[in-house]
């Protein structure tokens, strides 16, 4: 199958997660993505491991984020390499970088300089906090941006410390939003030949993530408050949350108390009206929590399905992996390292095009793996 982005050439001057996860998605959709790396050091993410897992010379983490890309080695302090890079830029459709503001300017690879080489390029810069203001040069690190954006006050319950989301949401979301805008800019560029400067920041992405909260806050002047019990979304009423049963946990989404009581059959619950779901949110949640403890997950899930209630069991990864609902997606793919031999399992692109799941078994590149080949074919 021909992939939608075949023929699109992307240069990725990026490290760690935000920029590289944008490159990964573009590669999954068919673009040719070339990582520009320092000839000795390589991308910093190569040395960043979790649980000390490695594949060949780079971390499993790097291999996860950078599969299906090529590596081109260039030293941006070397004049000859810079000349090669400029020739490569002339051929590219997209450039992505996530250096702190000022770094690409110093290399004469800021948008104005790049535009002079290639007027139709989509130039994408990802920063922590934007290129202006007192925070511009501060470290755009995921946890810090979560902390500064108010996001940590959405998760956990009222008595908990501010609780961050346990994944690199700022990096991931910003990289994914970059893909949206890159594609829109490519569409325009195809129509009128114009290039585009795209500027994204982790902070703006995390503010956008909270747009429902901010809009509600701007309208009311009141800070959203996490529920004291079983908080799952601070703007929503009882019963919304995760609850313990006698042998596990279930999640209950939004529904009227009367609907929920079809399954609970509780006298106590009938004492609350629909008008109480916000004002007595915690009281109601405590009542529900006590009732649910009396029976196991299966008991409740069966009842929920009979009444078509928005309730699902809470699964951990092992339980998920053995469920048919997961297996039918065929989400996993095996990738052999570029040096052959060792294999890893990772996930595929979550988007399906014309009923096809998108697999790409090509491993992350070794440092410098494609430099010669790229010089021969593109320059």
């Amino acid at each position: 199958m021909k992939l939608p982005l075949e023929g699109v050439l992307v240069l990725e001057f990026a490290q760690y997660l935000s920029g590289p996860c944008a490159g990964l998605r573009l590669a999954d959709l068919g673009a040719r993505v070339i990582k520009i790396e320092h000839p000795e050091k390589g991308e910093a993410g190569r040395k960043l491991s979790i649980k000390n897992l490695w594949l060949d010379d780079s971390s499993l983490l790097f291999n996860t984020i950078n599969r299906n890309k090529e590596s081109f080695a260039a030293d941006m302090n070397n004049a000859e390499d810079m000349e090669t890079l400029r020739r490569l830029i002339a051929r590219a459709h997209v450039l992505i970088h996530n250096f702190r503001p000022g770094v690409m300017e110093k290399r004469m690879l800021d948008y104005e300089s790049v535009k002079a080489i290639n007027p139709s390029i989509v130039y994408t810069q990802i920063s922590g906090y934007g290129s202006k203001g007192p925070w511009a040069k501060k470290p755009g690190q995921d946890l810090l941006v979560q902390a500064l954006s108010g996001l940590a006050f959405t998760t956990g319950s009222y008595e908990d410390n501010p609780t961050p989301l346990g994944l690199g949401i700022g990096d991931y979301l910003c990289g994914n939003q970059a893909v949206q805008f890159i594609l829109a800019a490519l569409i325009r560029s195809r129509k009128n030949g114009k290039g585009t400067l795209l500027e994204l920041s982790l902070l703006e992405s995390l503010i956008d993530l909270q747009f429902e909260f901010f809009t509600t806050y701007f309208a009311s002047g009141k800070m959203p408050e996490r529920a004291h019990h079983h908080n799952a979304h601070s703007l929503l009423s009882a019963p919304y949350g995760i609850y313990k049963t006698s042998d596990g946990f279930i999640a209950i989404a939004m529904m009227s108390l009367q609907q929920l009581n079809k399954m609970m059959e509780s006298q106590v619950l009938t004492q609350f009206s629909e008008g109480d779901v916000f004002s007595k949110r915690d009281e109601i949640k405590v009542v529900i929590a006590d009732l649910l403890l009396h029976h196991p997950n299966d008991f409740w899930i069966q009842k929920a399905q009979i009444f078509d209630l928005w309730i699902m069991p809470v699964l951990n990864w092992k339980q998920m992996k053995t469920s048919k609902g997961y297996q039918v997606l065929e989400m996993e793919q095996e990738i052999a390292s570029s040096k052959g031999g060792k294999k890893i399992t990772t996930t595929r692109c979550p988007i399906r095009i014309n009923n096809k799941k998108l697999y790409a078994g090509k491993a992350a590149p070794a440092l410098n793996e494609h430099t010669q080949q790229i010089k021969q074919s593109l320059l």
Partner: protein, 331 residues
């Protein structure tokens, strides 16, 4: 400036948040987005997905956040004349979006195969909860429920917590984000071929992708489960001191920092026992326990922002934590 998608027409049949957030982003980029709503009730988000803050017209702030910058067109899909008008609109559209459960659009005669006959170049985007096949396909694809089955709730919070959902509708928003990616890639491809595409995303697959780094770890380490930190959990796979700590007057966030540097900075002998970087992961709970006691006594965070202190030549990432109303904090 001419906007990126200014000549693109989008018909958005979707409701709630996942699909409408995709429509919102397309509108932000300049597309004309028309919400197709059910006559009488409209998008169920207008009534069902609400906060306790109402605007003057009685509608929820949440609906207005999600649907700004769009138009609304009401239709009774059971009425043939009404349906004929919709089909006429479809012939003019570039993109069509929906997030009904699998089978619903087919019953309405608006599934991709039928729509493609009317408009072969249309990009048809759909979001489901759990994909189009398998025994979960008809189950409610709602944000919290998809978080629940995806394992995501074992990543946030600390060890003593129950499974903890992320307090933002990440499944909806990420599925919407992925749908826009697929739809725009399909438009780009249409510029070459003239042909439209079917683009499908599910909230479940979107949350699996969101977890791709840690899930890949799990798939290659013999299926070891993530273990949340006992103290100030912030990321199950990252070493101490990573986390948010209470201080004498607020909270601070610390990302990666070498423990010996913190020991010198805080002048705490107890911390200097952790010179081996392996300990920062293996003994993270005792280190974090120690740090939380120290910070609570020693550090006042408000008005004293510690940003990337390059002490002893080692960059450290610290910041005070912000909240929506941090008006006392000066930066």
């Amino acid at each position: 400036m001419n906007r990126l998608l200014e000549d693109i027409l989008v018909l958005d049949f979707s409701q709630f948040l996942s699909g409408p957030s995709a429509g919102l982003r397309l509108a932000d980029m300049g597309a004309r987005v028309i919400k197709i709503e059910k006559e009488g009730t409209g998008d169920i988000c207008r009534q069902l997905y609400v906060s306790d803050v109402k605007l003057e017209d009685g509608e929820s702030t949440i609906f207005h956040a999600i649907n700004r910058n769009k138009e609304s067109y009401c239709v009774d899909v059971k009425d043939e004349a009404s349906l004929a008008k919709i089909k006429k609109l479809i012939t003019k559209a570039d993109v069509m979006l929906h997030n009904f459960r699998p089978g619903v659009m087919k019953r309405l005669g608006l599934d991709y195969e039928t729509v493609k006959e009317l408009n072969p170049s249309i990009v048809y985007g759909e979001i489901s909860g759990y994909g189009e096949e398998g025994e979960w396909k008809a189950l409610p694809g709602q944000d919290l429920l998809v978080q629940a089955v995806s394992g995501l709730t074992y990543l946030s919070g600390s060890l003593h917590h129950q499974p903890m959902p992320m307090g933002v509708a990440v499944a909806d928003i990420l599925a919407g984000t992925h749908l826009v990616q697929g739809a725009l890639a399909a438009i780009l491809s249409r510029l070459n071929t003239g042909e439209g595409s079917l683009v499908q995303v599910s909230m479940f697959e979107s949350l699996l992708d969101f977890q791709f780094e840690v899930l890949t770890c799990f798939l290659n380490d013999g299926n070891e489960m993530p273990v949340r930190n006992a103290v100030n959990g912030a990321h199950a796979y990252i070493a101490a001191p990573y986390g948010i700590y209470k201080t004498a007057d607020g909270f601070i966030a610390i990302a990666m920092a070498p423990i010996p540097v913190l020991a010198k900075l805080l002048n705490e002998a107890a911390l200097s026992n952790y010179n081996d970087p392996n300990d920062w992961f293996n003994k993270r709970d005792e280190i974090k326990e120690l740090l939380s006691k120290i910070f609570l006594i020693k550090l006042r965070s408000i008005g004293c922002v510690l940003w990337s202190l390059s002490i002893f030549g080692v960059p450290m990432f610290m910041t005070t934590i912000n909240c929506l109303q941090a008006k006392d904090i000066k930066y």
